[in-house]
């Protein structure tokens, strides 16, 4: 059992089928990395956190009563893992800074966008990251966040409006949403 709908894979994984569990990991890895990235601001650290979340899920899977809510349950574990990392980390900007040291126009723009992303609420930043990670569909985001596609659309629009507003304040007058 390494294909099929999530519910069947979760059922099989809960009974000890390793292949089903790794298939679920494969499916939800981008979403978990996106969630951790939105909280930690570090892509590499986000990947570590996502993997740690899968390890915790492997142990706790029998405790999951509603198998259909696997994605939301996994996302909650991932957020907890990311919070643990944040607790043990010095308070720094949550979005990673540009690696390049030169002050090119591109880097300045990137910095401004990251700064604007940092000003968003956690839930708004989370939905932006989920949407922009390889263009995840509203359906996939809905499964992970446990909210309707309409709610996702609304949250995403609000987040983008805020981003545009922050960028305008930063001197990017051309952004009007």
């Amino acid at each position: 059992m390494a294909q099929g709908p999530d519910s069947e894979l979760v059922e099989a994984a809960a009974k000890g089928d390793g292949d089903s569990f790794t298939e679920l990991c494969r499916r939800y890895y981008p979403a978990m990395v996106a969630i951790a990235h939105s909280m930690l601001g570090d892509r590499h650290l986000a990947e570590d956190v996502a993997q740690q979340a899968f390890a915790s899920a492997a142990v706790k899977l029998p405790q999951l009563r509603q198998k259909a809510q696997f994605a939301g349950w996994l996302a909650a574990i991932c957020r907890n893992e990311a919070r643990d990392i944040l607790r043990n980390r010095k308070p720094v900007s949550s979005i990673e800074r540009c690696q390049a040291t030169d002050e090119s126009k591109e880097n300045v723009v990137c910095e401004s966008v990251r700064a604007a992303l940092n000003k968003l609420s956690t839930s708004e930043r989370e939905v932006v990251f989920l949407r922009f990670y390889d263009g995840m569909s509203y359906d996939q985001i809905s499964a992970v966040l446990g909210i309707s596609e309409q709610a996702i659309n609304g949250r995403l629009r609000r987040a983008k409006k805020k981003l545009a507003e922050y960028l305008r304040r930063d001197g990017y007058n051309e952004v009007r949403l």
């Binding site: 994984a13 809960a14 009974k15 000890g16 089928d17 390793g18 569990f21 790794t22 990991c25 494969r26 890895y29 981008p30 990395v33 996106a34 990235h37 892509r43 990947e47 996502a50 993997q51 899968f54 390890a55 915790s56 492997a58 142990v59 899977l61 029998p62 979005i95 591109e106 723009v109 990137c110 966008v113 990251r114 992303l117 932006v128 990251f129 922009f132 990670y133 390889d134 983008k160 981003l163 545009a164 960028l167 051309e174 952004v175 009007r176 949403l177």
Partner: protein, 150 residues
């Protein structure tokens, strides 16, 4: 710049600013990194037969119809058990009635059994039955005791 163009520009800006390339999950590397957790997961496969036995109970507890059926079976089983005990009790109470002779009916053991079963009333009844079998009238307790002590 209209709103649509602005949104597209913002989307491109976000995509450029954060590394959003799709991450790839390497299952083998993950298993090597977390061998204990993966082992804990697959070891459940070996424990499945035992778990299946408890699944019957969980199925019964999950379905209302199954709960009612289980309760009915339990009540019937208890009823049958009580009926069986009652039947055995009646069988135990019968040796006096099945006694072959009046002499056997008035032995101290037989009278004690009758007394244990129904007190003085049962004792009297047994004596009356013994007397009737002998073709005599009703006996008093004094006669019975004297008779049984020889």
């Amino acid at each position: 710049m209209n709103e649509q163009k602005d949104e597209k520009w913002l989307d491109e800006l976000i995509s450029r600013s954060i590394d959003t390339s799709e991450p790839r999950f390497d299952a083998e590397q993950w298993k090597q990194k977390y061998p204990g957790e993966f082992q804990a997961l697959v070891e459940r496969e070996a424990r499945r037969p035992q778990a299946a036995r408890f699944d019957v109970l969980s199925i019964v507890m999950r379905s209302r119809i199954a709960q009612v059926a289980a309760a009915a079976v339990f009540i019937i089983a208890v009823g049958l058990f009580i009926a069986h005990l009652d039947h055995r009790g009646q069988q135990r109470g019968q040796p006096e009635q099945l006694a072959k002779s009046p002499a056997e009916m008035v032995t101290s053991a037989s009278l004690r059994t009758a007394y244990n079963r129904g007190g003085m009333k049962a004792l009297e009844e047994q004596c009356d039955r013994a007397a009737r079998m002998l073709g005599q009238g009703l006996l008093s307790m004094k006669d019975v005791v004297e008779e049984s002590n020889g």
